[in-house]
Every structure is written in structure tokens, then in C-alpha cells.
Amino acid sequence: MMQAKLRDLLITNILAIVLGLVASGLMLLFLGKNPVNAYSVLITSVVRDGYTFADIFVKATPLMFTALAFAFTYKANLYNIGAQGQFYIGAVIAAAGSLLLQNILPGWLVLIITLLLTIVGGGLWGAFIGFVKARYNSNEFLVSMMSTYVALAIMNYLLRTFLIEGKAEYPQTDALAASVWLPRIIPGTRLHIGFVLAVLACVGVWVLLYKTPLGYRIRAVGYNAGAAEMSGINAKKLYMLAFFISGALAGVAGFTEVNGVQHMLVQGFNPDLGAAGIGIAILANGNPIGIIFAAILFGALKVGGTIMGQMSGIPSSIIELMQGFVMVFVILSYFVRTWLENNREKRKLQKAVAK
């Protein structure tokens, strides 16, 4: 039974990804490009050298965090679609904290403090959504969406004033000192220790959700909030906690991007992390371990799409196109799975009746 379900999940998801890529490939025909050529360029160039290949995992790192952020509250039947804003808050704190402390404290200590600060900052930014949900019964979907635009405005303001680079030319910070860069795990590539952190976070969230009493309570509230309240679970407190953890996860993406990749804060960078994170979470069916693989796939699309853009005059918007098509087909695959499942049940019933 379980096996049939898992088989359906794998087959329909793979099919969805293939169809999404085929659909985007067909769009290339409009540009007069041969999609088969474009994709073979994509595949060969992604595995062309270690640097490019490792970049897939670099791109996957923040995506794992934002996908976890969505999946975590989703388990409590709450919608946090503000991961983008929580990520920006985390990024601002990471840049400000690192710049402030890098000349005072040793690098490793700055990294730890900055990480903790982004967890708290992103977490509180997220917890606010949970708070107004719990206290005023506000629509968390709406508030989380709006909070992203507020976070963006805060980031732009700080980049124009307090955090602006020494030359005060562009809205970006000075570069971080090399001592507060996240250590690289493979020399000669951009792959940094943040990737390990992201994988650990996925495993940690899985353990938290499925192996601890807190995770059980969160899932119980998601399954049936009324019944959970009856059994003595304080749903309101859980709303805040779930949003704190969710926001903290998205905030850490800001830390790994600023300290691990950019080494500075640039205005409006990574604008689609939040939306892609939601796509990854639904591709993985909300499973934290599945998120690791789904994020790597999206990372590969990003790296491949960028290379396609550089090599053959294909616009980099092909990345969003691929992501969008894959997401739509993944949602369709949910329908197909339910349909398959129902058919199986029906056959079982018919068999039982025939006996």
C-alpha cells in the first residue's frame, strides 16, 4: 500500500518535472532556438567542471531554508508566504552584524553571533505574523505577504542610509572581511559550509516534526485545530512558535547568502527565493527530507538557466519559466495521484465485494 503510494509520488513527480522542462523547451522555439540543443548545452555545461557543478548546491542552500519555512507552517495548516521578507530581514541583520563586529571579535565568533542574530531577527519578524493570527485572528496569508514588502522597504532604506558602502555610490554595503566569510568546503568552488547547515536543518526539522511531542502537536493542530484544542493543545501558542521557527529558517537563508556567497548586501538580490521555496515545498510534498532533493533540482535549473542565458542568447527569464511550468505540473500531479489512489481503493472494494 505504502509502496504503491511512494511509487505514484516518484513517477508523477518525475513526469511533472519532465513535462515542465518540455513546456519551457517548446517556448524556446519562439526564439528560433533548438530546445534539444539548448538542453544538451545545459546538461553538458552543468557537469562541465567542478566549479559549476558545485554551484548547484550553492544555489540549493537558501532554497532549502525558504522551502522549510513554508513547509513548517504548512504542517500546522498555516500559510507563511512571506519567506522572502524574512530572508531579507535575515540578510540585513547578517550584513549589519558582520560589518559591526568583524573588526572587534574573531571571525568564528562573529559568524556564530551573526547566525544567532539572524535566527532571532527572522524568527521575530515571522512570529509577528503568528502573534496577530493568534491574538487578533488576522489572516496570516495576507499579513505574511504584506510583511515582505515592508521588509523590502526597510532593507532599501537601510541600504540607502546606515548600511551604504563607504563610497556611497551604489545602494549596497561594503564587502565583508574575509574572516567572516563562511568557510568553503570544497576548494576552488563557491560551495560553503552553509550547504551542510541547510541539510542539517532539513534533517532537524524532520526530527522536530515527526519525532518530538512539539512536532506532534503542530501536526495535530494542522490536521484539526478544533480537536487539538479539545485535547488540551494551546493552538494560539503554537501559531506563534510555528511562525517563529518558520521565520528563523528563512532568516538563516539571509545569513548563508550574505556571509557565504555575496560577502556583502546588494539591493534586491535573490528576489524569487520565497516563491521558489514554496514550489520546492510542494514538489517535496512538504517532507523536509524531500526538500533536500527538490531544492537541488531547482538549484540545477538556476545554474543551468543562467548558463543557457550566457551561451546562446536565451534570456535568463527561462529560469522562472522552467520553475513556473514545473510547479504547475507538480500541482497537476497531485490531482493525478489522488485519482490513482481512488481507483486503487475502488478496485480493492470491488475485489472485496466479489469475494
Binding site: 488576522s138 495576507l142 499579513v143 504584506m146 515592508v150 513556473g324
Partner: protein, 304 residues
Amino acid sequence: MIYLLSATIMMGTPLLFGALAEVIAERTGMMVTAIEGIFLMGAWAGFVGGYLSGSLIVGFLAAMLAGLLVASLYGWICIYLKQHQVVTGVAINLLVVGLCSFLYRVIFGVPITPLTVNPLATIPIPLLSEIPLLGPILFNQNILTYIIYVLAPLSYFMLYKTSIGLTIRSAGENPEAVDVAGINVLRVRFLTVLLAGVMGGVAGAFYSIGFLGMFTTNIIGGRGWIAFAICFLGNWNPKGAVIGTLAFGFAEAIAIYMQSTGNSALFPNELFIALPYIMTIVLTISRKSFSVPAKLGVPYVKEN
């Protein structure tokens, strides 16, 4: 001040198109979370149609068609395939961003200077626009503004005084009853979503060819979500939507005014840009009683 109020009415126009569309659809139980994508597709199609044909009318027709297409994809997945409205909306919005910037490139390549069209002209209404104060504010607007302020009371009348309105409202409150009455619930929902697509397409085109005269992929920048929010804050009622729209239009007019006059010494620009979004959050918190349609966001499954 007159400038600000007149800008309020103008900037409120697309928001009201979107909010009314959302009110009608949500009354049947369908949140149109693809609204941001519908706006963007409308802005894109409006610009492309308007630029290539040289006629803004063609542009707006193209925008309606584009909005309709996005809405039909959304409606098909959410209504007939019964998939999740929030998740589907996010996916479609992302897809539309990709489609718009990709197809813009396909059609126009990489233009050296940004392509522009002449946006909608204002049409002063004879006599009425001569009234001091009120004239320039209310009666010196473009055609869409006049249309939407006729559509707003019409949609109120339609929702509350006609049998179509009753069917629409019942589909969101008690779909079983609608079904028993022999009316196809899914079709009612689908048609309202399509209507929302058409209106949302016009709203999007307002930004590209009604006002700015150009297209960029961040032209909508969350305005679809604001329309979505206005529907909530207006308590799923066209009257509330008008009030909400004026408030948001005012916030946006201030933001544009502040940006055009440069930095104010007291408050940073970004505060004014964020104002509509902050307002949404504050209003969501402060509103106590909402009459949410009972089946909002719940797919309708017929019992066998």
C-alpha cells in the same frame, strides 16, 4: 491637494477593478490568488497589443483575453481538479513572471531605449469638470475611471438585488443548496473566476498603457495582492471595496507625490512606499468582525 486627491482616484482605479473582481469571485468561495499574475499578464498583453497595433483599445482587449486565459488555467486547476488555491496561485504567479519577461524578449528583443506608448488621455466631462474643487478631482479622469465607478454600484446591485447575485453568494455560503436547486456550483465558480480574469486583465493594463505607457516585469509590484487585501478589508462587499480602494489610492498617491518631490526631511521615501502594505497589516489587525464567505477556499465536492 487637488493633485493628490485626483491622483487618489486615478491610482485607485485599477485597485477597484481588481478588488471588485475579487469580491465577486470570493463570494462564490474562490479566492483568486492568481490575481497578481492576472494583473501582470494584463499589463503585458495590454502593452504588446497597444504597441503593435497602435490602438489602446486593442491593447485593452488583449489584456482582457490574457487575464481570461490565466484565470481559466487557475479556475480549471482549483475548481475542476480541486487543488489548493493558495499554492496554485503562487505557482501561476511565478509562471506568469517568467512568461511575460520571456515573451517580451521574444517580441521586442532587447530594445536600447525603453519602448513606450501614449497612455490613456484624460477625458474632462463638459460642464462637470468646471466645478471648482470637485471638477478636476472627479471629472477629469480617464475613461476606465468613469467605467469602474459605474461598475461598482452595478456590481453591488447585481450581488444583492438579483437572482444571479443570490446564486453567487449562495455558492460560497451553502453550495449544497445551490446544487439541490439544480444549478451547477462549479460552473458558477468558474464563470466568476473568468470574470475576475477579465477585470484583472484590464486593471493590469491600466498600469502599462493606462498610466505609465511602458512595460517592465515589476510593474505590478504587489498591487494585485493589494486588491486582494482590499476585498478582505472591505468585508467582501463592493461598498467596502470602494472605501478601501480610496484609502489605498490615497496612500499610493502620497508615495508617488513624495517620490516626485524628492526626499522629505522628516520621513524616508521608503516609508511611503511601504505605507499601503503597512496599512493592510494594521487594518487586518484592527478589523474585528469579518463576514467571511463560509466556504472560501474550500473546493466543492459533490456527495454521491
